[in-house]
Structures are given as structure tokens and as C-alpha cells.
Symmetry: C2
Amino acid sequence: MKQNGTAVHADLQFSDHVDAESKVAERPEDHKTELRLWLRMLACANLIEVEIRQRLRERFDTTLPRFDLMAQLERTEDGLLLGELSRRMMVSNGNVTGLVERLVHSGLIERNANEADRRAVRVRLTDEGRRVFSVMAAEHADWIAEFFDGLGEDEQEALLTSLRGLKLSVLSAISGRADRKV
Amino acid sequence: MKQNGTAVHADLQFSDHVDAESKVAERPEDHKTELRLWLRMLACANLIEVEIRQRLRERFDTTLPRFDLMAQLERTEDGLLLGELSRRMMVSNGNVTGLVERLVHSGLIERNANEADRRAVRVRLTDEGRRVFSVMAAEHADWIAEFFDGLGEDEQEALLTSLRGLKLSVLSAISGRADRKV
DNA sequence: GTAAAATAGTTGCAGCTTAAAATATCGGAT
DNA sequence: ATCCGATATTTTAAGCTGCAACTATTTTAC
């Protein structure tokens, strides 16, 4: 609750980034291409994501986070521990707790105590959950194909390649922060 | 609270899409490229977005939605009506109400009654808000440039072009739904 | 002029999200 | 045997988000 302007003067604490920042500072007002690129990518991703959320709700009365969680479980034989799940979904632990609770309530997944380690909880799809997910996943894939239908084969390949480069670029820009585990 | 599996059997209600869906249904298991493309794009966008959210919080003790709202206001001389704001931000009315409330509380924007139409509320940046935003925006642009730094000039152009194509493809796939106003 | 429809915002509710603090358990060192 | 640090999960507080129902005001139709 302290969103006042003085926070602007908080200490700069990313010494790792001083190089990049001072470099760009030399020629201010020159980030236009990158900014346009980012905004356009964000617009595309949001357009698709919003549409998927809407369709998941209307067609299956579910949400994208639930779908993502089930997608992770679907790839496993015996389910996952909550920690592993939260790592793969790249969301916080507390987030998973709530999602799991609601999905269990819906009967789509089940929580199993782990006898070896009483702290851990393993979750897996129920038969019903697996059945439901396969229907949703098939339709989801169709939606995606539909969205990309206007792009030619070669354009898709080009985009795939560009995105690989972008991912590497972003990862290298970010490394040194948030990736303490590396 | 009705996320049970039976919802899967809800009526199919997108007759507009039957063509696209039946078309892909003819060759099931062939959406792999599109799916990979989508997942990679989502990964990139999320990576960047999460990093931006984190930096906005750590550097300026603020959030992306607040930043976006201020960015919209910054482009205007006399502020915007709430409805116009929610349309430009592509979020719901109720959402804007809360965001505005918190930003007013922080002293960054102000609400002004509209004498011509007593239903309407106009919001604009305060002097403080404009000052704070200019600092944040400059740093934000530096961050973006940093993330895209690993991409060459030509690669950026290629990506920009691919994304234009994608946006058109998605819009054409979506049109007929959600765009009732057209 | 008045009723009905349209428009501008707000409110309530449910869910998603994170960070930080709390709880419980495990494993190793003494 | 016990204490301590690491690990697994839950809880809590604050905020973001959409939808649906609601209030207030303006405009339109008659």
C-alpha cells in the first residue's frame, strides 16, 4: 500500500545490468523497434490467450490454469508432487494448492498421501479427469491450428526460428537474476 | 462451482467454426507445428512479462496493470473517460474501477466529475503521476531493448513481419465471435 | 412529457496470482 | 537422542480479473 512516487528513488540493485543500461543510455530514444516488436508480440499472444480462456470457459466451463495443470499431469504416469507441479507450471506453491483443491473438488484429479515422505503430496488425474482432458486437449489443438491457419508453412518455420533466437536473447538478458538456482 | 466433467457435453455453439474444425478433423494429429509455435511464443512472452512485472515491483513498487493504465493516460492531454480507458486497455469496466481507485489513492492520477454528463468520470495523470511515469517508461524501454538485444537488426525485422502476419491470421480466425460490435 | 432503451460506472462474487510467514517433516551432525 | 537446517506444503494478505447484477443518468421513441 505504498505506491507513492518516492519509491522511484529506490536503490538501483541490478549491478549486473549496468552495462546494458548504460549502453542504451548513450543513445536515448532509440528503442523504438524493440518496443514495437514487444508490443506486437504481446498483442498477438494476448489475443490468442484471451480467446482460449473464453472458449475453455464456454465449451468446458473451466479455466486456462486448470487446463495447464491437467496438461502437466497428463504427461505423467503416476502424477506429480505439488512442488514438481509448481516448478513445471512456473507458478508459486500457494497457487498450486488452490488450483489442486478446486480440481479435486471437481473430481478431475486426486491427492494421494506419500507414505515415504509425509510432507509430500502426489496428485494425479482421475480416470474421469483423463477422459475429460483428452477431449479438451484435442479441441484446444484445433483452436491453435485455426489461429495459425493464415500463416504459410514457411512463415511458420520462420517464426519458429525467430522465436528460438528471442528466447535465447531473453534468457541471456535475464540470467543472473531470478535464476539463482543456476 | 460446477467444474464437473459433464460440462464437456455442453452444446457446441460455434457454427461459424464448423468448417475449420471439420477441416482439421480430417487429418488428426497434424497440429504439431502450430502447437509448438504457440507454446514457444507463449514461453517467450511470459518470460518477458514476468520479468517486467518483477522489475516494476522491485524498482518502482508498482504493477503492470497500473503501468499500463498510466501509459494510456500519458498519451492524452486531458485524460480519458473510464469507458474509453477500459476499451483501450482491453479489460473490463469493473477492473478499471479498482485500478483507478488504487492509483488515485497513491496520488498518481485524479478523478474529475464531468459536468456535461453526470454519469461519466474523467481520469488524468497528476503532475506527480506524469513525472513518475516518465521515469518508469524510460527504464521500461531500456529493459525491452535489453531483452531483444541478442536479436540482430534483420532478425527483428523478420519477427516484426511474421507477427504482423500472425495477428492478421488470428483476427480472421476470431472474427465473428466476441466482435459483436463490428 | 413520459416510458423504454441505451450508456457510464460500481459492486459482489469467484477465481487466479504472488510474496511472505507459518507448519510439518525429514535428514544429517553432534 | 537431539538439535538444526533443508524441504514440502499451507496459510494469509493484497491485488488483478471477468461476469453478472445493479444504480444512475442520458437519449430515444411515442
